[in-house]
Symmetry: C2
Subunit: 217 residues, 2 copies
Amino acid sequence: MAEHPTPIATVDIVLLTLAEGRLQVALAPRAAEPARGQPALPGGYVRTGQDDSLEAAARRVLRDKLGLAPRSLEQLASFGGATRDPRGWSISVAFLSVLNLEELAASPALRLAPVDALPPLPFDHAEIVAAAVRRLRNKASYSALPAFLLPAHFTLAELHRVYEQVLGTRLDPASFRRKIEEQQIIIPVGERRAGAHRPARLFALAPDAAWEFDRTI
Amino acid sequence: MAEHPTPIATVDIVLLTLAEGRLQVALAPRAAEPARGQPALPGGYVRTGQDDSLEAAARRVLRDKLGLAPRSLEQLASFGGATRDPRGWSISVAFLSVLNLEELAASPALRLAPVDALPPLPFDHAEIVAAAVRRLRNKASYSALPAFLLPAHFTLAELHRVYEQVLGTRLDPASFRRKIEEQQIIIPVGERRAGAHRPARLFALAPDAAWEFDRTI
DNA sequence: GTAGTTAATTGTAAAGTGCACAAAACACCA
DNA sequence: TGGTGTTTTGTGCACTTTACAATTAACTAC
């Protein structure tokens, strides 16, 4: 049946974070050919002897190559073709991880690039990043995914700012608070953020809530 | 780097249709081992000598094995693991196609099974079908994807019934009409459906409109 | 014609949203 | 100790959207 060589199988991970008020993607210099030394999405081969699943392969790459164990990781889409990789027909299963700068600090080799001003990237990595940003922006309108851009504890005002930065639009503060609080996606942790002004309540993402809002037709 | 055998790469296609008022999936008897003869999702190897992309591989399988060229086809997700296929570590890139019974009639070997009463399926095909149904139900609340369950021309009442069947809920006729008409996803074709009663206007999906509704936070 | 049936529209109350502003709670300073 | 500035949080209200009910429109069959 399979008279054709099997395609190369890799996983690539789009790490999105918020730095300097902009959405940025973390890039790693490629360790091997092709495009050795150039910044690219971190990734690696699916190791059939080691990995139990595609997500396990992505987590292994994150752990072994970058020292990361991010809270958020979801499959994005798969990109396959005859010409996207000079080594031959290849399939890249792309994953999306949304994380904050502290989580990312564990991996000093990574460098950030704003998603709207990417350097030239090898393969079809620019397209993969674009798909990841679309996914995050879309999910921002009906899920708590952008909350992973913040530390584990955050204030409503911080969450509000993050949503505005991700979506690139203004959101009414009162409506935002009403909407977020009526969903069951964040819970107050009791403490308050001490500061120069009125202290804000701190929230955390609900343990393993369905991080999706209601959508109605 | 890759001291491991490369995984098997296949595409599998979830064909969803509406028959007897229920959402059903089209299954084909497997032509080869494993599970030869048993009903399963139609699929096949990615042929690196023939296919230019993953979607091209899915379209080839649909065309060559089933004689189908459905209007709707989108990537669903990828399923990979060491144990999902007895032949070894495998990756299945799953696709979702939503179509009507007339389109499906071109392929007589297929048999339908209600998505909520599936027969035993090999591999993780039951899980893939479940993901496809979730995708369709989700998209029903903000896109015109369920319209592909109908013929090219349809009435608003038919579309209304299809949405209700897919979502499993009642939808207010007046609100549904307003919502659908204010989006730009369907256009009247001018004709009317003659019948025993007041004739209904016929609509078609907008040529290549963005089949997505507005979502607001 | 008239009854019967489905298609399509209209009216209205309830719910949700955007906007402006007010109240609350702190630090800081005089 | 009290006033001031600043940020968080809550409230009132106009406006829009949605749910629900009822009505009108258009045809066939008798």
